[in-house]
């Protein structure tokens, strides 16, 4: 499918829904994608099955603090600079690109890259949501190395990372981005279609576009929108949408700990002032608690919607007095294996309990 302007706008909106509070405001990535498809021919969104088994894929996206890009603007040519540097350094010729994560602005960077490099973008991603670290991608979990990788800073300078473990890479790329203004564009995970097929969360780009279309056309409150979204999720590998809570934000306390935005939000129910829930945050929304009863936890998806407009609210925009509706969604099966839960389960975020799927917690 040739991606048109409207697809890209809907993708940006749907990607906010799947971002579970993180991933950053996709507006700037949207602008880059719009400029890129204006400047070049638009990108083609393709199924992984339409490529040969040994075709070469890379994942492309931003690493760093999305909030800083509100001031340190991204450049439309950054993804292309990264891809060309990657090809020069490795001698590989890239056949298609894929997204790190469908949540937030990183859903759109591959389109910027694909249009500029004249290659297609694959319908799918490495998370099915947003998560903060490189080892949490299904690509890493499947044993594919993120390096060799190229990182490009705001001035267009590129550097190479090579032959290091996933965890070392996570640490070094984080340091590099902080040293270069807080955000960089990277090309990582050179892989064949054969490798990617084993781990891709498929069809999430078209899912996000479909979600965005519903958010655009079915204006109304959160409950109304959730009814309209249910059939969109029905045929996917995600679980069903479950309304966990509806109420007002009474406190948001977050601070930066160990390089992350860590804290919690407290909410009071609309219909019962005694009923309170707590949402734990580490960039993304991680858990929802009613007293000491857990309602949902990472890696299942937790999305907060503005009750009145149904629009998703990112964690950095959550504030006192907002009326929000909390929705839980079972994550794709990729994250429910023991190997995946070892890197994305609650314990990886400092909690002392094991993962229980949402469907066992609330039904």
């Amino acid at each position: 499918m040739k991606l048109q302007e409207q697809h890209i706008q809907d993708l940006a909106s749907g990607a906010s829904f799947l971002a579970t509070g993180g991933g950053g405001d996709p507006y700037l990535s949207l602008l880059c994608a719009q400029q890129s498809i204006k400047q070049y021919e638009t990108a083609d969104l393709i199924s992984i099955d339409s490529l040969a088994d040994d075709a070469v894929i890379v994942a492309v996206g931003s690493v760093g603090a999305p909030t800083t890009s509100l001031e340190l603007l991204p450049s439309v040519d950054e993804p292309l600079i990264a891809i060309r540097a990657f090809e020069r350094h490795t001698g590989l010729s890239i056949d298609a690109v894929v997204s790190f994560e469908i949540g937030g602005g990183n859903s759109l960077i591959p389109i910027v890259a694909a249009a500029a490099a004249g290659v297609p973008v694959i319908d799918g991603d490495g998370m099915g949501r947003a998560l903060p670290e490189v080892q949490m991608m299904t690509y890493s979990i499947a044993g594919i190395s993120p390096t060799p990788s190229i990182a490009v800073d705001y001035a267009g300078n590129s550097v190479v990372f090579e032959n290091i473990s996933v965890l070392e890479y996570e640490e070094q790329i984080r340091d590099f981005s902080m040293a270069r203004g807080g955000i960089v564009t990277t090309v990582e995970f050179a892989m064949t279609v054969r490798e990617l097929r084993q781990c891709i969360v498929a069809d999430t780009v078209s899912l996000a576009i479909a979600i965005g279309e519903v958010l655009r056309l079915a204006r109304g409150n959160a409950l109304h929108l959730i009814q309209k979204l249910a059939p969109v999720f029905e045929p996917t590998s995600y679980g069903q949408l479950t309304v966990l809570f509806s109420g007002m934000v009474t406190d948001v306390a977050t601070s930066v700990i160990g390089g992350y935005d860590i804290g919690y939000a407290l909410l009071r129910a609309d219909n019962n002032a005694e009923k309170q829930v707590r949402v734990d945050i580490k960039n993304e929304y991680l858990t929802v608690w009613e007293g000491d009863k857990l309602l949902t936890s990472v890696p299942d998806l937790i999305t907060l919607l503005d009750t009145e407009t149904g629009q998703p609210i990112n964690s950095e925009r959550l504030s006192f007095g907002q009326r929000v509706t909390i929705v839980g969604i079972g994550c794709p099966p990729h994250f429910r294996t023991p190997a995946a839960l070892a890197v994305v389960g609650p314990k990886c975020f400092g909690f002392d309990f094991d993962f229980t799927p949402i469907e066992k917690l609330v039904y």
């Binding site: 700037l28 909030t67 603007l73 040519d77 807080g182 219909n271 009750t307 007095g321």
Partner: protein, 522 residues
């Protein structure tokens, strides 16, 4: 004693308030030049009550600047200077703007080296030769308004100040808007706000000179304030420099006026005009603000604005299909000649209200022959339109009281299906002018601060002090200033305790307490 004036598209309303109580009100048609309408309204007020002459301050709400942007008129060409290269390649100033307004404003852009990074180090050093070339070109192009925007200016405005100073030296006739003076964090939205503001500077002089002349001609010499989008006020010298801060002040004033007239702090407010109905929500006595980025005339900004749902229903809405369809087309300000009750030939929502005995205007005998089914169908249609919109805006499950205000309030039915209680306060037709009259003065400041370097309490105190200075500069009594909102946002992934701190303060108008003869505080 104070006077509130609302200059709307159709009517100019004026109210005289003594403390909190309404002394007199009047409503006249808005004139094409705006100013003679104000003169007429004030003259009427003076005729009704001699107390009007002893007013200590006048507050004016106007949609002139919003309308100028929406209609793309009275805008002057602006050059946008951005200091942020080499970042943002391919996303120049005016990116994402509708083409017609980008053309109206000129689209001259300069992307220069400069600005800062999140950690306080330079993004790129200012390049003097580059800057001088740009300023020369401004002179050659005869551009008289410039918007200056620098990366991380809310944290460090030095590059903007430097460029502003150079322009002042070389091109003294040029007027400038620096982004850090008008917007918050978010470079593109702040730059857009600065560009829109700069494009209105010339028109602001015209409008404010007109207001001052109008007041002089009716011999009122008290200080004048202009309503801002957050329900607070600015003095006229500030408004000359920041006309864009009046965007969306109309809906804000009607919400605040409704709060004052009813004493309700939490309510849904329906402002029915001639062509449209604006539905907003009062929370704690103030308008609920939109969580989303707000577009003005299609341009994305980050102004503080009330969350408003507008529908095409008003006193002038055309009634079609035997009353089963009403609006969105309207006879607008031609209501007084085209509606049936005024001797015209168009069946409007106002005619239905008169026929149903809800309103008295024009000649009722002209609608006596109207089919009663059409009347009841139409009331039903309008009730359904309002009820479904109210349900969209109603926060939570409890039905809030619904306050009807605005010149077209009479067209609304007396009951709504959804079980909302309807309140029609006295003076509801001039709620906007009352909202303008009771407004306060606000100030907002924002900075990126590292809590590792500055203790949190000290940091917030610094930002509060910035905000207070802004409020006092906009005309607030320093002793009455209080904190209205504190927002802290930690920056994800950063190890330095970096936090975005934003403080909003609000205070009483200094002139109400101390009655100074001049409010020229800047």
């Amino acid at each position: 004693m104070r006077i509130g004036i609302d200059v709307g598209g159709t009517h100019t309303d004026a109210v005289l308030l003594s403390g909190d109580s309404v002394v007199e009100t009047c409503k006249v048609l808005t004139s094409a030049d705006v100013m003679s309408g104000i003169v007429e309204a004030l003259t009427r007020l003076q005729e009704k009550s001699a107390l009007a002459n002893s007013a200590k301050s006048i507050m004016i709400g106007t949609t002139q600047f919003t309308n100028a942007v929406i209609e793309r008129r009275s805008l002057q060409p602006v050059a946008a200077i951005r200091l942020g290269s080499p970042s943002g390649r391919g996303l120049p100033p005016f990116v994402g703007w509708p083409e017609d307004i980008a053309e109206a404003i000129g689209g001259t852009v300069f992307e220069l080296d400069g600005g800062y990074l999140y950690n306080g180090s330079e993004l790129a050093p200012l390049n003097t030769a580059q800057l001088d070339t740009a300023i020369n070109q401004l002179g050659r192009l005869n551009i008289e308004a410039v918007a200056i925007t620098s990366a991380f200016a809310p944290m460090n405005a030095a590059p903007e100040l430097h460029v502003n100073e150079r322009i002042r030296q070389v091109l003294p006739q040029c007027r400038t808007t620096m982004s850090h003076e008008i917007g918050r964090v978010g470079l593109l939205e702040r730059e857009n706000a600065a560009i829109l503001n700069a494009s209105l500077l010339h028109f602001a002089d015209y409008v404010i000179n007109g207001i001052e002349n109008a007041l002089a001609s009716v011999r009122l010499s008290c200080p004048v304030f202009i309503s801002q989008n957050d329900g607070t006020l600015m003095d006229v010298s500030f408004a000359r420099r920041f006309p864009a801060l009046t965007f969306a002040s109309g809906p804000t004033n009607s919400l605040r006026g409704a709060a004052k007239l009813t004493g309700l702090n939490d309510a849904i407010v329906i402002d029915i005009g001639g062509t449209t109905t604006d539905i907003g929500v009062l929370r704690g006595g103030f308008p609920r603000e939109s969580n989303l980025v707000v577009e003005v005339g299609g341009v994305r900004t980050n102004f503080r604005m009330p969350d408003i749902l507008a529908i095409g229903l008003g006193g002038g809405s055309r009634v079609n299909n035997n009353g089963l369809s009403v609006g969105p087309t309207s006879v607008g300000h031609e209501l007084v000649s085209q509606a049936l009750v005024f001797g015209g030939a168009v069946l409007t929502a106002s005619d239905i209200a008169v026929a149903a005995g809800q309103a008295s205007m024009g000649d009722r005998s002209r609608v006596r022959e109207l089919n009663s089914d059409v009347v009841s169908n139409c009331l039903d249609t309008m009730g359904k339109m309002l009820a479904s919109s109210i349900q969209k805006m109603n926060p939570g499950k409890t039905a809030l009281p619904v306050v009807l205000v605005g010149g077209g309030a009479a067209i609304a039915p007396n009951t709504l299906d959804a079980g909302f209680e309807i309140v029609r306060p006295e003076h509801c037709d001039v709620a906007n002018a009352i909202g303008a009259a009771i407004a306060q003065v606000g100030g907002e400041a924002e900075r990126f601060i590292s809590y590792n370097e500055i203790v949190r309490e000290t940091a917030i105190e610094q930002v509060r002090s910035d905000a207070t200075m802004k409020a006092v500069a906009a005309g607030a009594d320093p002793d009455s200033v209080r904190v209205n909102d504190i927002e802290e946002v930690a920056i994800p992934y950063m190890d330095s305790g970096a936090t975005r701190v934003r403080v909003k303060v609000i205070g009483e108008v200094a002139a109400l307490n101390s009655y100074p003869t001049s409010a020229a505080v800047r």
